[in-house]
């Protein structure tokens, strides 16, 4: 019996090519849209987290206790070398960067703004987070005499400075004296991390140590782990090893990012639900129509004695065969969109200012995760299942002879 129904389903699909292709296309396009949207949202959040990790927090950061609350260089890590030696030999750690930071006032001839002066080693930052990729103008260098500085692009805009402009940074040193130091801007960085872009000036570690009269010291040691799934265990190990320090993960340092990710997840799910509802309605509508328009045919089959279960099996087979092909084409199409967007990105430079104010890059890159395809599979088949329920219910209740005689439908 079922062989006949399956045979009839295949014949029906093959001999009504336009309708079959229309349903398959509808499913494929909706599905590829779902996949693309999901990948893009995840990509946006991943990008924000990634740039924050690369530009500042690392996977884990070590601070002297109290430093994070008071931002006072009295709470610095004295002699970071043993810590560096430990991190260097640890097999779980990929890279680290030692930083010495102080808050102060950055001034031009016309304007002054509060900012953080960050003493860094460019080579360490390069290994740590490919920091040079954030350079939007100028050189990734502090000059031959370490008298140059890199500046966040938003801060440069506010101060109305460009490459080669001079800056004066004024701050309190370790002795409590107010000191000032002059730099020339050698490069402008655009990280996507608002903390950096809006309020940071980077200088060499040696210059910073001299400026603060704080040699062989650090306020932050940020590190990257080899395996992201091991972040928590590395944190626990480091905390046990360095009990006098605060050892914090990126999500503890930037709780706002987690909130943002959660918010984006909600947004993602809402959008997904809306697109899914539209797609499901589309699938529902097309499959429903394709069944309703054949009510007469099904009625004839029932009138001449075809069991209802046979017709049910035929309808389900047809719908799910179309869903399967729709899924395969949609998944391939969506995968293509995602691959392209993951590698080339979507250029939204026209909306650059707006996106940057949210810490987003003007070029959006998508993420590709395998579970998207499982979710999409479940979504398509669930929508298909829903779309056959109503027509089957209608079919079960009709009187075939009334449909044949044109009294129904």
């Amino acid at each position: 019996m079922y062989k006949i129904a399956l045979d009839l389903a295949l014949k029906s699909l093959m001999r009504r090519k336009t309708r079959t292709l229309m349903v398959i296309m509808m499913i494929a396009l909706s599905l590829s849209g779902l996949l693309f949207l999901q990948g893009l949202y995840d990509g946006m959040v991943s990008h924000m987290i990634n740039t924050t990790i690369r530009s500042d927090s690392g996977d884990i950061s070590l601070y002297a206790k109290q430093y994070r609350f008071e931002k006072n260089i009295d709470y610095h890590i004295d002699d970071p070398e043993p810590i560096q030696a430990y991190l260097y030999q640890s097999e779980e750690i990929n890279a680290y960067a030692v930083r010495l930071m102080q808050e102060g006032l950055v001034s031009t001839a016309h304007k002054s703004l509060g900012a953080t002066l960050r003493g860094v080693t460019l080579e360490d930052e390069r290994k740590f987070g490919d920091f040079y990729t954030f350079l939007s103008q100028g050189k990734f260098s502090f000059g031959p005499k370490n008298q140059d500085a890199l500046i966040g692009f938003k801060l440069a805009e506010k101060l109305k400075v460009t490459l080669g402009s001079r800056l004066i940074f004024t701050a309190q040193d370790a002795n409590g004296e107010i000191n000032a130091i002059a730099f020339r801007i050698s490069g402008i960085v655009k990280t996507g991390n608002l903390t950096i872009d809006e309020g940071s000036v980077f200088v060499s570690m040696e210059t910073m140590e001299r400026f603060l009269t704080l040699p062989n010291s650090a306020t932050q040691i940020a590190l990257r782990v080899k395996d992201e799934s091991q972040i928590k265990s590395v944190q626990d190990t480091l905390q046990k090893k360095f009990k006098t320090l605060d050892v914090l993960r990126w999500d503890e340092l930037y709780p706002l990012l987690i909130q943002m990710r959660e918010m984006m997840n909600i947004f993602n799910w809402v959008s997904y639900a809306i697109v899914f509802a539209v797609a499901a309605l589309g699938i529902f509508g097309v499959i429903l129509m394709s069944i309703l328009e054949r009510m007469r045919e099904f009625s004839i089959m029932m009138a001449i004695g075809t069991p209802y279960r046979n017709i049910r099996y035929q309808i389900i087979s047809e719908a799910f065969a179309m869903a399967l092909f729709g899924y395969v084409f949609g998944a391939l199409l969506g995968w293509g969109f995602l691959l392209y967007t993951a590698s080339v990105g979507i250029d939204l430079r026209y909306f650059e200012a707006g996106l940057e104010s949210f810490g987003l890059n003007a070029i959006l890159y998508a993420d590709i995760r395998y579970y998207y395809f499982f979710q999409a599979f479940a979504a398509v088949f669930f929508a298909t299942f829903l779309s056959v329920l109503w027509p089957l219910h209608v079919l079960k209740k009709i009187k075939p002879i009334e449909v044949i005689q044109g009294k129904m439908l």
Binding site: K11, R15, R16, I304, G305, T306, Y308
Partner: protein, 223 residues
């Protein structure tokens, strides 16, 4: 087949109530070639549908041999139709995605006839009904007269005990009507299949061996 006190009321206990059939008592013998006749609205199609189990009687019983058809469930009735009744409808009603050959063999396939037997029966019927040339065509590619002959072939293919034909000539010209009736009569004589028509076509009535005339849902003549 015995029909005992068959009545059918549409929209009972409502202002739209229609008594389509009132206490019909009839007996059909095997091999009959009978027409239910009457004006439009006389109840002939309703009676045909009740005999075929496509509609339920409001009261009364139908027996075929010792089996009470009116007591069967919808599913059992569908199975009974599949095995014992062939239908020919006014508007041909072929399955559009199947070829003529597949349409004729459809019921036989449902009944799990052997493929060789199906093919041989189709070829045999195609000769009788003169549709050999259109076996691989789809219903949409053939004329109305041809479609009706295919519908007849489908109805008789599995050798049912009973053929029920509702206005089979209504959409055919006189030439095709004559040809169809001739073929049904041949099948009736050759295969002893009982044929019951619902029709007021003069030609169908002339060809019938028994005519039952209905008026306002009651039998007024049976000869």
């Amino acid at each position: 087949m015995k029909l005992i006190n068959i009545s059918k009321t549409f929209f009972p206990d409502s202002p739209k109530e229609v008594k389509a059939l009132v206490n019909i008592n009839l007996t059909f013998e095997e091999g009959e070639f009978t027409t239910l006749s009457g004006e439009s609205g006389s109840g002939k199609t309703t009676l045909l549908n009740i005999i075929g189990g496509l509609e339920r009687a409001s009261s009364g019983s139908i027996f075929l041999d010792n089996l009470e058809l009116t007591a069967l469930s919808d599913e059992q009735m569908a199975d009974f139709r599949l095995r014992h009744i062939g239908f020919v409808f006014q508007a041909y009603n072929l399955i559009s995605v199947l070829t003529v050959r597949e349409n004729i063999g459809f019921i036989m396939k449902l009944l799990r006839f052997d493929e060789v037997e199906i093919d041989s029966r189709i070829d045999e019927l195609a000769v009788i009904l003169q549709i050999e040339d259109i076996l691989d065509k789809f219903p949409g590619q053939i004329s109305g007269g041809q479609q009706q002959r295919v519908a007849v072939a489908r109805a008789v293919a599995s050798r049912p005990k009973l053929i029920l034909a509702d206005e089979p000539t209504a959409n055919l010209d006189s030439k095709n009507s004559e040809r169809l009736m001739h073929m049904l009569r041949t099948l009736n004589e050759k295969e002893h299949v009982t044929v019951i028509f619902a029709s007021h076509d003069r030609y169908v009535l002339d060809q019938s061996r028994r005519i039952i005339v209905l008026e306002d849902g009651a039998v007024i003549e049976d000869h």
